[in-house]
């Protein structure tokens, strides 16, 4: 049932083999170069952002719903929470990792849908611009709320 020749490490799919390929032995097949594509780097960025997201989202949900009985609900609660420097850093980290992870994830869908490289490039720039815009807007909104403290 279980194949005993599964590799200890899988360093990337070699060029010229179909998806789902797993090498027979632990060693990378000789003579076939590993693909070091830009999409692979973006995937790594997305994975790192996803790992950060698990931490930040956990902190966010616990802080919003479990730290105070009944959760942070009223306007005053939210503002008081955001005025703490640690909470502010955690929320901004959550915002940044969410935008990176979601933007790259949405782009990966577009990679499957859009065939024209030019339009894919335009869509990627649009996603990057939208993410940056949301980031700046959210920072501005936060500073507006917590006010001239």
């Amino acid at each position: 049932m279980s194949d005993t020749s599964v590799p200890r490490r899988f360093l990337g799919r070699p060029e010229g083999v179909p998806p789902g390929y797993v090498p027979e032995s632990g060693a990378r097949p000789r003579g076939i170069p590993i693909v070091r594509a830009r999409s692979g780097r973006l995937w790594l960025v997305q994975a790192i952002a996803g790992a950060a997201l698990i931490v930040f989202l956990g902190v966010h949900l616990v802080a919003q719903h479990f730290l105070v009985p009944g959760g942070l609900r009223s306007y005053a609660d939210v503002v008081a929470y955001l005025r703490q420097p640690i909470a502010l850093v955690a929320e901004i980290g959550l915002l940044a990792s969410v935008l990176v992870h979601a933007g790259l994830g949405f782009r990966s869908t577009l990679v499957d849908v859009i065939r024209s490289p030019r339009w894919l490039r335009r869509a990627s720039w649009f996603i990057a611009a939208a993410g940056l815009g949301i980031f700046v807007y959210a920072i501005w909104l936060t500073l507006l709320i917590i006010g001239p403290a």
């Binding site: 599964v6 797993v22 009223s74 306007y75 939210v78 949405f106």
Partner: protein, 134 residues
């Protein structure tokens, strides 16, 4: 031999390509996990956009915000919250599975791990639904 060869290339056209995504023949559990992961990811992107729009009501001051709280405490929104928890938990656990498989952890039993992710996230979603709705 674990090589999976797709029988043919997807037919051209946007609708045909989307239909190809949903084609269940010659699929494996990993495909199901991928499809659910992508679906949940899109739901979460939509939720994040809605979250941003809702939070912009904070700019209107305490009155504008506190009026919304009653709406979000209503039953349809709490039901949506449980679905959101299910999407988040599945997406997170499946992301951990994908990262582990990339490091070749657990690749001996891929279908077992896919099943574990689906079952565990389903159970956690049921627990969250109980905590939120009851």
């Amino acid at each position: 031999m674990s090589a999976i060869t797709p029988p043919r290339l997807p037919a051209p056209g946007l609708l045909r390509r989307i239909a190809y995504w949903l084609e269940p023949r010659w699929r494996d559990p990993g495909w199901l996990a991928f499809a659910l992961n992508r679906f949940a990811g899109h739901i979460l992107v939509l939720y994040l956009l809605a979250h941003m729009v809702v939070l912009s009501r904070l700019a209107a001051g305490p009155e504008g915000w506190n009026d919304l709280l009653g709406l979000f405490g209503s039953t349809p929104f709490l039901f949506g919250d449980t679905l959101l928890v299910a999407a988040v938990v599945f997406h997170g656990l499946n992301g951990l599975r994908v990262a582990a498989f990339t490091a070749a952890w657990g690749v001996r039993h891929p279908n077992l791990w896919v099943g574990a992710v689906i079952v565990v996230s389903g159970l956690l979603a049921v627990v969250a639904a109980g905590a939120i709705l009851l």
